[in-house]
């Protein structure tokens, strides 16, 4: 690297440069959240697939006892939170790509957020119920 970098003149305030978000007023939050949830889901998914495989054909009491153990319940809750957050972020991008017209698009995104939140809460309540009942 022989050549020296020239000083770049940026006509923006120092605060604006630090915020780094430009006219969109938001930065890479969505992108980062999608990646962070994806990274979390890699080990959680592998754990869940192995757990399900080792309980094939099990009756409800065995599944309930398994899901109720603190470690399993915590991992299930993490799986639920990461899955439905990641699902909301991913579906949002799909709607943004294919639905034209801001009203319909925003409505679809809001409906997806609501549905993902509710599904996640229902699943979490089910796990918490299993975790708090004595088996």
């Amino acid at each position: 690297m022989a050549h020296k970098l020239e000083k770049i003149v940026v006509m923006r305030s120092q605060l604006g440069r630090v915020r780094g978000t430009g006219a969109a007023h938001s930065g890479a939050h969505h992108w980062k959240a999608e990646r962070v949830t994806a990274i979390a889901l890699v080990p959680l998914t592998v754990w869940f697939v192995i757990a399900v495989l080792s309980h094939l054909g099990a009756e409800q009491p065995a599944i309930a006892a398994w899901a109720g153990r603190p470690w399993n319940a915590a991992l299930l809750l993490a799986l639920i939170a990461m899955t439905f957050h990641h699902m909301q972020l991913g579906l949002q991008v799909v709607w943004e790509d294919y639905i034209h017209g801001s009203m319909r698009r925003d409505a679809a995104i809001l409906a997806t957020k609501g549905a993902c939140l509710l599904l996640g809460l229902i699943a979490a309540v089910a796990v918490l119920k299993l975790a708090t009942v004595a088996h």
Partner: protein
């Protein structure tokens, strides 16, 4: 007339208006056929294109499949009867088909997602690795799906 001259030296056939509209001159004033953008209907899909759209398709499939996961958890928390209903549905032909699709989608999205994460980390963008890695993701999906279903088949002994 310039048009007849053009027709004589034209490298591409001009049988209709569409052909004629595709004729242009290059920077050396020679006649050429304009390049056309890769339209899905006539363009051979590169494997990277397949891999890209499959990641989105499996993501949507998994979103639908998450309903099954929620139902399964709620049933497990509700009692033996409710749980037996879910298990019976999953064991039915349509339930098994859904579970097979869900398994394949899960593994594709998992391996494809790792491919995307590696790209995000700044590696694997070189042209020689793009096509093999796309095939690798498909192969891993197939192997993992077959392994899991074989393990399930052995465990249940059906």
């Amino acid at each position: 007339m310039p048009s007849t001259e053009a027709a004589r030296e034209c490298p591409t056939p001009m049988n209709d208006i569409r052909d004629a509209l595709l004729v242009a001159r290059d920077s050396q004033h020679g006649l050429i056929r304009r390049p056309v953008s890769p339209h899905i209907g006539i363009y051979r899909w590169p494997i990277t294109m397949v891999a890209s759209i499959l990641n989105r398709a499996t993501g949507i499939a998994l979103s639908a499949g998450s309903l099954l996961l929620v139902w399964w958890l709620v049933a497990a928390a509700s009692g033996p009867q409710e749980f037996a209903t879910v298990q019976a549905f999953i064991a039915s032909p349509i339930g098994l088909l859904m579970l097979l699709g869900w398994t394949a989608s899960l593994f594709y999205h998992l391996f494809g997602g790792i491919r995307h994460l590696l790209w995000d980390a700044g590696t694997g963008f070189a042209k020689p690795s793009l096509n093999p890695v796309s095939w690798l993701v498909l192969a891993l999906t197939f192997v993992a799906t077959v392994l899991v279903w074989f393990a399930g088949y052995m465990a249940l002994g059906v």
